[in-house]
C-alpha cells in the first residue's frame, strides 16, 4: 500500500525515553508523527497484555522505550520490560506474525537525537512490513 501511514504506539518511561522525546522536541529534531507516545513512570509498568491489546486494536507497530540497561530509575524495570517484549515476540512467532512489530529500545534522557532516529527507523521498518493484519480484515470485508 503506497500511502500506508503506520500507527505506532511507543510506551516511554518518564525518566529517560519520554524526556529524550521532549528534548528532541525542544531541539526541533523532528520525528514521525506516526509515533504516539504513552508516558509511563517506568517501562517495568508495561505488561505483555498492554502490547498485545495495542496490536489487537490495530497498532501497526509497538515499542517500549526505557532507560539504558543498568541505569533504570527503578533498578531493573527496563529488564523486566525487555523480558515481556520477548515473550510477546514469541507469541507473535507462534501465530505467524512478524516479530519485528514489537521491540524494546533503550536510551538516556539526554539522547534527543537517538529518540528521533529510532522513532524514524521503526516507522520505516513498519512501513515495509505493511499494515497490521487485523486491519486487512476490514479491507477484505469491503
Amino acid at each position: 500500500m503506497e500511502n500506508f501511514e503506520p500507527e505506532i504506539v511507543a510506551f516511554c518511561c518518564h525518566y529517560c525515553a519520554y524526556t529524550a522525546a521532549d528534548m528532541a522536541g525542544s531541539k526541533r529534531i523532528s520525528y514521525p508523527s506516526n509515533v504516539k507516545i504513552i508516558r509511563v513512570p517506568c517501562t517495568g509498568k508495561v505488561d505483555a497484555l498492554h502490547l498485545m491489546k495495542a496490536l489487537e486494536k490495530g497498532a501497526d507497530g509497538v515499542y517500549v522505550a526505557g532507560c539504558l540497561e543498568g541505569d533504570c530509575h527503578f533498578k531493573n524495570g527496563n529488564i523486566r520490560a525487555k523480558a515481556r517484549v520477548e515473550r510477546v515476540q514469541k507469541f507473535l512467532e507462534e501465530l505467524g506474525w512478524e516479530t519485528e512489530r514489537v521491540t524494546m529500545l533503550n536510551m538516556s534522557a539526554g539522547m534527543g537525537e537517538v529518540f528521533a532516529k529510532t522513532a524514524k527507523e521503526f516507522t520505516e521498518k513498519i512501513k515495509t512490513l505493511g499494515p497490521n493484519p487485523v486491519k486487512l480484515r476490514k479491507t477484505k470485508a469491503v
Binding site: 505483555a48 497484555l49 498485545m52 501465530l95 505467524g96 493484519p133 487485523v134 480484515r137
Partner: protein
C-alpha cells in the same frame, strides 16, 4: 504445587478452530503461581487468539473468567451462567480442573496447558519436581529428600555408579538425589541410617492398583 506450561499456541488454536464463541477459564491457584493459567495468562491467551482470528479476517467472541479453583464442583458451578452462550471452553487449569469442567458441562472442553509435575519453587521462575505422589512417603528416613521423585532411577538404595561430580548421569544440572540424601544424613549426624536396607517398594499406593481415591468418612 502442580506445575504446568502453556501448550503451543497453534495447538490451542487448532482445538478451537471450529468455534465462534469460546470461554477461556483460568485458575487462581497452582497455575497462577507458576504463571501458566492465571488471570493474566487468560488475558494473554485471549489476546493471542484474537490476533490470530483477526488476521484471518474472521471474528471470535471470547469470554474470560478466572475461578478460585477448577478442581472443586462448587467453583466450577459458577460458570453455569456463562456456559450457555459459548460453543467451547478452553481451560487453563491443570488436568484435574479440565476434567472437573468436562464432567459438569456438555460443551467441549480443551486444555490450554500441559500439566507437568508436583514441584516447589527454587527461586522466582524456576520450579523443580519434588514429589510423585507415591502414596507412601519415605521422607522421614531419607533426610527430607525424596529418592522416588528426585533420583532418575527411583532407587531406594542408591546411588548407582553413574554419579559424576555429585550430579546425576542424565545431566550435569541434576543433582544426584542420593548424594543429597547422604550429605543431609551426615549433616544431621545420622549417616548410619544409610546402610539400612530400604525394602522393594509397594507400588500400589503409587497408582499401581489403578486410579486412586481418598474417602474421608467423617467428611463425606
Amino acid at each position: 504445587m502442580i506445575t504446568a506450561e502453556q501448550k503451543p499456541l497453534q495447538e490451542i488454536i487448532g482445538y478451537i478452530a471450529p468455534y465462534g464463541k469460546i470461554l477461556v477459564v483460568g485458575c487462581n491457584e497452582c497455575v497462577t503461581v507458576c504463571a501458566a493459567g492465571g488471570r493474566k495468562e487468560v488475558g494473554l491467551l485471549a489476546s493471542a487468539i484474537h490476533l490470530d482470528r483477526l488476521k484471518q479476517g474472521k471474528t471470535i467472541d471470547i469470554k474470560e473468567i478466572t475461578l478460585e479453583r477448577q478442581c472443586d464442583p462448587e467453583y466450577v458451578e459458577e460458570l453455569v451462567s456463562s456456559v450457555g452462550e459459548v460453543d467451547a471452553i478452553v481451560s487453563m487449569a491443570c488436568g484435574c480442573g479440565v476434567q472437573t469442567i468436562a464432567s459438569r458441562y456438555k460443551v467441549p472442553v480443551f486444555p490450554a496447558v500441559n500439566t507437568k509435575f508436583m514441584g516447589a519453587s527454587k527461586s522466582q521462575g524456576i520450579w523443580e519436581e519434588r514429589c510423585q505422589g507415591c502414596g507412601d512417603c519415605m521422607l522421614g528416613i531419607t533426610g527430607g529428600i525424596c529418592p522416588v521423585a528426585r533420583c532418575s532411577k527411583s532407587l531406594l538404595n542408591g546411588p548407582c555408579g553413574g554419579t559424576s561430580d555429585g550430579q546425576c548421569e542424565i545431566s550435569p544440572d541434576t543433582p544426584c538425589a542420593w548424594r543429597l540424601i547422604w550429605e543431609r544424613l551426615v549433616e544431621l549426624g545420622i549417616e548410619d541410617r544409610y546402610e539400612e536396607l530400604n525394602m522393594a517398594k509397594d507400588w500400589r499406593p503409587a497408582g499401581g492398583a489403578g486410579p486412586r481415591r481418598i474417602i474421608r468418612e467423617d467428611l463425606a
